[in-house]
Each structure stands twice: as C-alpha cells, then as structure tokens.
Symmetry: C2
Subunit: 197 residues, 2 copies
DNA sequence: ATTCGCATGGTACAGATGTATCACATGCAT
DNA sequence: ATGCATGTGATACATCTGTACCATGCGAAT
C-alpha cells in the first residue's frame, strides 16, 4: 500500500480542500478532520503532509496567493496599453465571476486570522498589496507620460485610492450590498475619471 | 446576594468584554469563559444575561454599530457645509485614533463571521453601509447644487467609490501597509479631486 | 532474504467549548 | 412568616479539536 506517491500533488489536494471549506463555510469550520474528509483522506494523512495546522493554513494561503496572481497574469494577457493593464488588474480582483468570488471569499476568511496573528502571517500575506500598488504606480506613470492622464495628477495617490476602492468594493459585493456588475461599474467610472486629458 | 440589579448595565459590561476580546485577540478567542473572565463575572452570568453565544455575539455587534454611529455624529458635530460633513463622516471611519482603530479592528473581527453566517447576521449588519451611502449621496448632491462639485459629476458613483475606498484604506491600515495618517492623506487627496469647479 | 524507510490507518489523550443542571441565597408580595 | 421569582455559584456533560503514538503494508537496497 505504499507506492511512491507525489508529495506535492497530495499536498495540493489537501490544501485545496482547506481552501474550499474556507470559501464555503469559513475558516472556523476548517478543522483538521473536516479538511481530511473534504479531501477524501484520513486525518493521519493531513498530519503527515502538514505536520501542524498552522503549516497547513500557511501553505494553503500561499497557494491562494499564487492562484490570484495566476488569474491576474491571465487577465492581463494581451493587454498592452497601460490603461488596459490597469483595468485588467483591478477588475480581475472584483468578485464578478465564480473564480474571483471564490478567491475573494477565501481571502476574506483569512482576513480575521491574519489580523489576530500578526507575527507569523504578516510577512507572508502583506507583500502582494504593496507590490501590486507599486506595479500600478508604474503603469499609471507610463500612461501619464503618454498623455493619457493629466500631468498634474498624483499617480501614487490615484493608485493607492484605486486599490483600496477595489478592495472595499469587493467587500460590499461579498456583503451582498452590491452585485459584481455594479461594483465593476463603479470601478469603470473612476477609471474614466482618471484617464483623461 | 440577589439585589435587584440593572440588567442593561450588566449586559453592557459583558458585551463590551466580548468586544474588547474581539479587538485584541479576535473573535476566535472569545469563548464564553474568556468573556466571563474579561468581564469579571462567572460563566453562569454570561449564560444568564445572554442565553446563547449567538445572542451575545449579535448584541455586541449591535452595540458596536451604535458606538460607530455615535462617533460619526460626534465627528459631524458642528460641521455645516456638505464638504465638511462628508469629510467628517469618511475620515472618522479611518483607523487614525485609538477609538476608530478599536472599532475598525472589531468590525474586522466580525467580518468573517458575518460572511459565513449570512442568514442571521446579514439583516442586522448590512444596513449601515447602505444607509450611509445614501446619506453621502445627499450631501454630495447638495454640494453639487451649491457649485462645489462640477455638474457633470455622477455623485452616486462618487459616493460609492469614496465609501469603498475608505473601507479599503482601513483594511490596509489594519494590515500594516499604511499608517492612519497616510490613509487620511489619500482620502483628502481624492476629496480635493472631487470638490472642485 | 533481511532490513530499512516511506506511506497510511487507527486510536488515544488532554484540553477547550457551549450548554444544561442542581443548588442556594436574597428580596418582595402575600 | 411563607412562598415565589430573581440573581448567582459550582459543576457536569457531551462534543470537538489539535496532536501524539502505535501498528502495518510495501518497495527498495543490502
């Protein structure tokens, strides 16, 4: 019963079970046993591949981050002009389709955990936003130099504001106060406001 | 040992103990026993005044909402002109001073809970944002008619964007990517952008 | 053929958690 | 004075949770 098995594949299988539970029922329902059942393996195996629960949580969070990044790169795709890149990056974060709704909800499930356990998780999870904001600034600056954005605009402020806005819009969609389409409309409106003379 | 006691006062004492724990350690650390200890009462009393844990959680959440509303009214204070009202409302939500940091953190602690338990909590917690957004729209429209905002601006879009932005800025402050002052600067910048000819 | 390490199953254990139950004291109405 | 409702304490109980431990099957190297 002990064929050489692909460790990475097993870890992926288990971690994604965790993410599925976090998405649908929240992290508080993600016990080791629940994860094992969801992944279709025994509790022992979850312990075997991720010694501790924190290990599992961290690994799954890293995978979630990778999924979001993959989605962003896919959405950027053939986008070439800065405005298209910015639009792609921002709108792909909004919970509009099934995948982004899943990712957003799962991140939300992690949110409280990250806040209450600053030491360990902060380093792992706090980087993406910062990096992304820098990327946005670069794109906006390029658009500005190309004349797509008024020269007197402060692109760093704009980038920070847009990113925060998308984040907040996502929360409102998850909270049921807005549909994904409405959130997207709000974003588009502000992008129109930014990209002009 | 059974003097007629002020029920509301006891409930307040216990509910605030829960909020204090939610703020500092997160809701996952807020067990009935922990709340009892924090409030300086016995476990039995927590059960007595709030029969069930869900009752306690809901009551505390309502109190948190009341605290935020009280803070907003206090911040609006003598503000008279629409722009001042809007600035007050939005900036008082940002985690800049101790009180708003506490409120924001505590709301964040509830966030995951609300998302994973939509039925019961949604009605109680989802109203403030909607009401607030309507209020903002009215203020912005008034400013627009007074000439403080360009007539071609879509104030509903602007209100939605600003509220989402403040929400997102708050998250970034809590996540340690920005200080409260920096978040306030981003907000001010966008208000300057909105309030013109 | 024996040995060793990897993969897996089963289960135990200690602690925490929400809730229920029993007990008892005190104040107020009768 | 008696009785009933109120406020409070102590504790029990069933369940869940993370982790540890023991056993065993199998492939590969010796």
């Amino acid at each position: 019963m002990a064929e050489k098995v692909d460790h990475e594949e097993r870890r992926r299988q288990i971690a994604e079970a965790l993410l599925r539970i976090a998405d649908t029922e929240g992290l508080q329902s993600a016990s080791m046993r629940a994860v094992a059942t969801e992944a279709g393996v025994s509790l022992r195996l979850v312990q075997y591949y991720f010694t501790t629960k924190q290990g599992l949580l961290l690994d799954a969070l890293a995978r979630l981050g990778a999924q979001l990044q993959a989605r962003m790169e896919r959405w950027i795709g053939e986008a070439r002009a800065p405005r298209e890149v910015v639009t792609a990056v921002l709108s792909c974060i909004l919970p509009t389709d099934a995948e982004s709704r899943r990712i957003t909800r799962t991140y939300a499930a992690y949110y409280a955990l990250v806040l209450s356990d600053p030491e360990v998780l902060e380093k792992q999870a706090a980087q993406p936003p910062v990096v992304l904001e820098g990327f946005l600034v670069k794109q906006l600056r390029a658009a500005q130099e190309a004349g797509g954005i008024a020269p007197e605009r402060d692109v760093e402020m704009a980038a920070a504001g847009l990113l925060a806005m998308v984040n907040g819009l996502g929360s409102s969609v998850l909270g049921g106060q807005r549909t994904g389409e409405q959130a997207l409309a709000v974003l588009s409106h502000h992008l129109d406001e930014l990209f002009r003379p």
